[in-house]
């Protein structure tokens, strides 16, 4: 599939300049179509055709994430994202503050280009290894016109509305029905990196809707052994089936007994949902 790229405009910070440079590089090497954010904002119709039959990569320079916000505002379907400032941090590169591309910056552009190529390969090769059964019985919390479902058995929860389902030394994690209803239609999922060691409450992926964004915080510590790559193309699975097909990651557990000290069972979590639902209405 052809790729369309919506980059940061690249006139405010070096990170933005590099977002633009990465877009130009991908245009040259992959024949991707680069979308001008200013023109898109003024005349969305100009790019209607380019966006209709392409997978969209959004490249933000800094966490202000203007390009992402523009995509969101126009209701565009985003398939992949890069945030240059984060990439610089994880590569340990200080790109400076010039508004011209610098040599360290161009080094980062190469790192990011290689990372994108790797991600495309990984998305095909990741396969979850363990069978996890979907819940059958639920507790429900009713508030106003909302009904929130919580699996009665087999799941534990943290107070940050994420669940864990453990089978032996493996576990699946995800977000609760309360999260998916609060966010409404989820339009984008950013998975965590497979192989990374995580502590309890570390980020294991983020979700975005037209309304808000949320980092899923892991109920358990361990190593990420798989991510649900289906969510990249179909983030709506989290809305449709938050405790089953909408799982976020699989973790090889390292200290589940200790993690459990800060986890809740279904009954205790249902009281938290009741409290949060009431607060959200205020």
């Amino acid at each position: 599939m052809k790729r369309a790229i919506l980059p940061c405009n690249g006139l405010d910070k070096q990170q933005g300049v590099l977002a633009r440079e990465l877009a130009l590089r991908l245009m040259e090497t992959q024949g991707a179509e680069v979308i001008c954010p200013v023109l898109l904002n003024n005349s969305p119709a100009r790019y209607e055709k380019a966006l209709a039959d392409a997978s969209l990569l959004v490249i933000d320079g800094c966490p202000t994430r203007c390009a992402s916000k523009l995509a969101n505002k126009l209701g565009l379907r985003v398939d992949d994202k890069v945030l240059v400032s984060e990439e610089a941090k994880s590569a340990g590169l200080d790109v400076g503050e010039s508004l011209r591309p610098g040599s360290v910056g161009m080094q980062l552009v190469e790192v990011m280009e290689a990372g994108l190529a790797r991600a495309q390969e990984l998305a095909v090769s990741e396969e979850p290894a363990t069978d996890f059964e979907s819940p059958t019985d639920y507790l429900t919390v009713t508030y106003d016109k909302f009904i929130f479902k919580i699996p009665a058995q087999g799941y534990l929860f943290n107070e940050n509305d994420c669940w864990v389902q453990a089978v032996g030394s493996r576990a699946r994690v995800g977000v609760s029905d309360f999260v998916q209803q609060s966010l409404t239609d989820i339009t984008y999922f950013e998975p965590a990196e497979v192989g990374r060691e995580i502590e309890q409450f570390d980020e294991i992926g983020s979700l975005e809707s037209g309304k808000s964004m949320m980092d899923a915080l892991s109920p358990v510590s361990g190593r990420i052994v798989a991510v649900n790559s289906q969510l990249v193309d179909s983030p709506e699975l989290v809305n449709e089936d938050p405790y089953g097909r909408g799982w976020i990651a699989e973790i090889e557990l390292t200290d589940f007994d200790s993690d459990k000290e800060l986890l809740l069972d279904a009954a205790a979590y249902s009281m938290i949902v009741e409290k949060k639902a009431a607060e959200a209405q205020r």
Partner: protein, 95 residues
């Protein structure tokens, strides 16, 4: 939110809220626009933005820092906060 708790520990006992580095902050207010819990407060006088309600901050949430272009927001260490919460729970469990 006087009765607020996290894992049965009184919220006021848990050290978790953003700190603004005023040497970096450019007062774009993106963090305040994002946060639905009124942790921040905009003011007429300097500084134009403060952390007014630190105990409204959702324990372990760092989402506002991700909206910060100039990287001016920091949080306490997560492992230290986790250890402190476990310790308080243990002590209160003994009473």
């Amino acid at each position: 939110m006087a009765d607020d708790t996290f894992m049965s520990v009184k919220r006021e006992k848990i050290n978790w809220s953003p700190t603004i580095d005023y040497s970096k902050c450019d007062f774009c207010m993106e963090c305040d626009k994002f946060c639905p819990h009124q942790v921040f407060e905009r003011r007429e006088e300097a500084p134009k933005l403060i952390v007014a309600n630190p105990y409204n901050c959702v324990v372990f949430c760092r989402a506002c820092a991700k909206t910060c272009g100039p990287d001016a927001i920091s949080f306490p260490s997560k492992p230290e906060t986790i250890a402190a919460i476990k310790k308080i729970r243990e002590e209160e469990g003994e009473q």
